[in-house]
Subunit: 337 residues, 4 copies
Amino acid sequence: MVVILENSATKEQIENVIKHLEDYGFQIHKSTGVQRTVIGAIGVQPGFDTRKVKILDGVADVYRVTAPFKQASRSFKEDKTVIKVKDVEIGGDEIVLIAGPCSIESEEQMFKLAEVVSKSGSKILRGGAFKPRTSPYSFQGMGEEGLVIMRDAAEKNNLVTITEVMQIGEIDVIEKYIDIFQVGARNMQNFALLKELGKTQKPVMLKRGLAATIEEWLMSAEYILANGNPNVMLCERGIRTFETYTRNTFDLSAIPIVQKISHLPVIADPSHATGYRDQVPPMARAAVAAGADGLMIEIHHDPENALSDGPQALLPEVYLELINELKLIAKAIHREI
Amino acid sequence: MVVILENSATKEQIENVIKHLEDYGFQIHKSTGVQRTVIGAIGVQPGFDTRKVKILDGVADVYRVTAPFKQASRSFKEDKTVIKVKDVEIGGDEIVLIAGPCSIESEEQMFKLAEVVSKSGSKILRGGAFKPRTSPYSFQGMGEEGLVIMRDAAEKNNLVTITEVMQIGEIDVIEKYIDIFQVGARNMQNFALLKELGKTQKPVMLKRGLAATIEEWLMSAEYILANGNPNVMLCERGIRTFETYTRNTFDLSAIPIVQKISHLPVIADPSHATGYRDQVPPMARAAVAAGADGLMIEIHHDPENALSDGPQALLPEVYLELINELKLIAKAIHREI
Amino acid sequence: MVVILENSATKEQIENVIKHLEDYGFQIHKSTGVQRTVIGAIGVQPGFDTRKVKILDGVADVYRVTAPFKQASRSFKEDKTVIKVKDVEIGGDEIVLIAGPCSIESEEQMFKLAEVVSKSGSKILRGGAFKPRTSPYSFQGMGEEGLVIMRDAAEKNNLVTITEVMQIGEIDVIEKYIDIFQVGARNMQNFALLKELGKTQKPVMLKRGLAATIEEWLMSAEYILANGNPNVMLCERGIRTFETYTRNTFDLSAIPIVQKISHLPVIADPSHATGYRDQVPPMARAAVAAGADGLMIEIHHDPENALSDGPQALLPEVYLELINELKLIAKAIHREI
Amino acid sequence: MVVILENSATKEQIENVIKHLEDYGFQIHKSTGVQRTVIGAIGVQPGFDTRKVKILDGVADVYRVTAPFKQASRSFKEDKTVIKVKDVEIGGDEIVLIAGPCSIESEEQMFKLAEVVSKSGSKILRGGAFKPRTSPYSFQGMGEEGLVIMRDAAEKNNLVTITEVMQIGEIDVIEKYIDIFQVGARNMQNFALLKELGKTQKPVMLKRGLAATIEEWLMSAEYILANGNPNVMLCERGIRTFETYTRNTFDLSAIPIVQKISHLPVIADPSHATGYRDQVPPMARAAVAAGADGLMIEIHHDPENALSDGPQALLPEVYLELINELKLIAKAIHREI
């Protein structure tokens, strides 16, 4: 932590600041310039609230020197994390494709779509059984029955599966049937849930909250990591801004930044980021070009009658066509799909 | 729902749109102008996803006519909701003051502060036992032990109590000791939790999410109301914007707007909105002047050693002084404290 | 400037950083901790781009120690600036009221409204002659003819005047008739205009840009101050956020913050901040309670037929009533209106 | 315009609304459903302020049916605009590359960089002579002397030129030497400047304001178009959001949306969007993948000593390497560079 004193700070104020810092357990380096005194406070305290120092008399500003996340940072682990689920590797050279419907709706639907996913060369099947809906009057998901369907559809097509977990009470049942937990944007800071997922053995995909900074996102990942589960991947799905023509603003610049400061793989979700199917292909292409380690895309064979998010689902044939473009773009940046 | 067709929409496209609307269960009013056709789709379907219509060929735009929330709206219940907890009324002419520490830390601390709260004429005691901390390395709260302390301190001083609930598993223990549930900003769209709170009998204070629109905030209130609990109060605590000098941007204009479109009481929390104690008094005054039905303010007799959020806590004497100013402002707008 | 080196920074990298800092003219204080090296770079260079250092190999982060604005800061001038225009003082104990129509529309209108302003005890008359309209098809203002009308209406009622200047070419004609220049939100970073206004002798009210941080706002004030005009007042008029129920988000917490870091007076404009007349009174009250040095409020005797912004104009009788409430609130915080 | 009446609107209120709409010159279609009345108000009035209707008693909501921009819209001109400057076409199948330094600094610098631009196959040379700097203490540009240098460097290398215009007084001198005017983000709503540029004959590149919605951006384009200049191209350069790890948030999803609703070409500027050179290549690739009609990229042979924005400038060799990747991505979406 670096503490900048006011120009006008008195000797007593400076001594008081130093005393506080020492009481908080820091080692002190004082540096007195012509205009101001700057104090370096050495000692890692990840949860320390810097406002405690900022409000002391004579203090102009306070900066953390170390990032507040630890296990999620590149300085903790220099090599990129590669998560292995069955024969799929997430975070390696190959860009991973996750596809499937928003909600699991029926056996027929899932088997049909799992076949599309498999045929397209994508390796992970998505589908929601417990749905976080803004309205209490909307379809809330099929629950365990849906999970069974998804597991069967995946097994038949040799696919890995991912589904959203919304509360601690669902962890056990999901773990029974599914390979990867997904934490939705609205639960990114549901710390109780994150802690429990840290105690499970299966990988977790953590979506970025609508208004979460990159730092907060990594702090939430830290909750899972610090509780014992090293298999965390991140998922950028659009942030909330003033713009209303788009559903969210897809923050693609977060991808290279997260990859620089963290070793965790980053997936991009152009379906939720844009909300409309005609914007999914250009944004999927852009995400690959920006360096995403994977894409999650919603598809549906009959989007008009989908029980949720039909307007953002691609038809299977559009999805297959998109993959051809993505392959060329991956090649341009020396990766594969 | 009003559907605006493109200038260039063909007869077939218009008929197709009408067919879809009818299939979705709406009654149709078609109105053909010189330039465009406008279709009114009548029939209330609170959870309907308007994007389903927006993506049809020939459609330029779609607008919902009814608000997506129902029981939370003024058109559902014209009279303002007044929530009674013991002898305290929230939402009436009197502006309610809620005060106490961020975290419950010890018996000594809570008894000392409960006495201040009581002496100041404030009626509700706050204190956190289960803490949602951004960092997994920060103090996570005293749990049930803290709740027992708070109940005892409140009883001795004849105060009503409020504490935050972070997960479904905590509902029972909190209900045993405490009068009002608080849902934090990070859990505003933790729908599983909201549903369960809808089934309890005690009032719920629902904080606005950092990036939640007023509409989403009321939709989350709807989850509680629709599950059977009519005693919901809202709490504005600052939203996230581009400005970094302030911790959050305190959205005081939300207060008169929510009061216009909803019957639920609105509390303001200047402590979390600003994050620094010297900004709390001006923003507390502004919130009362803007028409808030109550204030929640953090106080601490020894903020430097508080286990959480000390920098935003007022000293007891500053709190007492502030109340004197608030009383005059309340009088200016024909209310009381 | 404080430069934090990476944990892993090599000796060569650190020396290279020091060499660069010295070449840029800074004096160096190096402080080596257990984990990292921190370099203090002493020497004030207000326009220095800290990114130049941030991109050097081995650098983890860089923080400015001094604010980028100088003459606008409290450390430059400790006493609050009080601007005198004729017999009006802006920035003193008395809260100044500025009122009038959005646009100057006719002699009859301005004389009628100037009388209202005068009768209400307000001291400054506003009115737009050159209008910045989002649409090229909207009314663009009466120009010089309007300025003549406003001057006459003000003189008859002993009022000070303010009007918006949109371009350098309008400065001379406005200076001829009007007492205070207003720079609109959209021109807050029209640096060419700011420079020229720095060379005039009349006070300037600088509105905050829709997406301007407090720091950028003060930097724009610095442009005027640095060019020789010390009479700058700031005006908060709402910022752009994700919320759409309100026209803008009125950032009242900016008021105490600006007053802390700068000596310049701060006016609040609840009319533009909210955009609707029924929200103006609560937000006007809140602004006074938050400590604003003045208010600017739009009034119109016939808002339905106003040529611009009628929906946000108060009727004269509502304005007079509001002033009564404001007087009580001012008294509560030991100020007067 | 579609006007939704309140459930509770009385007959008198409805009639009053209709009377107002007719007075404002609209034709009326009334449609009475079970729950509410909806009024269609027909008649195009681009500058109409819908708030005038929204504040009438009994009105629940008002929606514009036509976009507020006209000449900028696809319904006004279905074919994409292709702007020809000398032998360069902007908006056609070929993606146009604009490159050069942030500021023109010297003859040596410009001739060196113009050669790089030319050799790379890029067709347009950029360089600032009049600089909009946040700080009044920063380098403000070489002025006319710089323009002469840029013209000479461009002529020698057969390049088209672009430079920023900050005020009306600079238009004539820029027009004398340079091919394309650039309007910076901070001047996007400097309507006086836009009007004058509408009267010139040279193309204008209009950057999106930091907090400008897509609609406002197109409205600003409309100012230029409506004043007689059809050669407008847009430039996305990042918007302001809550995220601070990135300098701005590069809103790539704006690209396909603008191309859908407008016929104007869209350029992307990854240099200003990100602010740091290591983020420029991934975002440049993403912009091409998202469908941008061109890129503007800052390059410098000695970024450490650049007089402005050095940290975001690519070295010539990095730029050349990037172009190779961009060519492959362009091919993947059936375009060329």
